[in-house]
């Protein structure tokens, strides 16, 4: 299950999506908006997204994860727009019969999402400035 949403992520719903009596393990990963980054204070985050492509890329990652590991179910939700401190920007839930698959697939999914899915974060700093984050691009 893939979802892009402007609303706060309901992690209970995400967990419910992957729950199954076939599963012996569920791993939920939440990426959450951290207040301090390299000594600077964040007020909020904002996410921009190329939605049609992000949907496709996320679905391709889900399919690849199901290919690589024996999963019972898999759900990925990414928040768009303004995201407050402590709120989740992304939720990944993976269920499997045994725990190794759920841990490995969860970790692989978040690593790959950060590499290929066309979603961008803007830091709204507490000092009133803001900055889109484009890793590797000089400032």
């Amino acid at each position: 299950m893939i979802q892009l949403t402007h609303d706060p992520i309901g992690h209970a719903d995400v967990l419910q999506t992957v729950a199954s009596t076939a599963a012996g393990a569920i791993v939920l990963f939440l990426g959450t908006a951290r207040e301090m980054t390299g000594g600077r204070r964040t007020a909020s985050l904002e996410y921009d997204c190329y939605e049609a492509m992000a949907q496709k890329e996320l679905a391709a990652l889900e399919a690849e994860a199901r290919d690589r590991w024996e999963l019972v179910d898999c759900a990925i939700v990414h928040r768009l727009g303004s995201t407050g401190l402590g709120e989740a920007s992304v939720a990944i839930a993976v269920s499997s019969a045994h725990r190794a698959a759920a841990f490995e697939a969860g970790r692989w999914l978040i690593d790959r999402i950060k590499e290929v899915v066309p979603i961008w974060k803007k830091e709204n700093w507490a000092d009133g400035t803001s900055q889109w984050v484009h890793p590797g691009v000089g400032e």
Binding site: A54, I113, K114, W120, H134, G136, G138
Partner: protein, 81 residues
């Protein structure tokens, strides 16, 4: 041919809109689009150099031809998750 290119994040913010039009002689590749876009938007040249491009919502190499009518997007380095 005229190509409309979708812009996101810092590119969208710098240009002030979500799409720009680029004029290219046919046939053109993704790499030629990249070069022309950087000439047209010099304030974005650094970002465009690090960006990928997508054709119809799929990553495309610089060598790929630009099909007429494709949805084209400039994908600067991503930072979701």
């Amino acid at each position: 041919m005229k190509i409309r290119v979708k812009l996101f994040a810092a590119a969208r913010q710098t240009v002030g809109r979500g799409e720009v039009e680029v004029e290219l002689s046919e046939p053109a590749t993704v790499g030629q689009l990249r070069a022309q876009l950087a000439r047209q938007l010099p304030q974005l040249a650094g970002l465009i150099g690090h960006a990928s491009f997508a054709l119809d919502a799929r990553y495309a190499d610089d060598a790929e031809p630009l099909p007429a009518g494709a949805e084209v997007a400039c994908i600067p380095p991503v930072s979701g998750g």
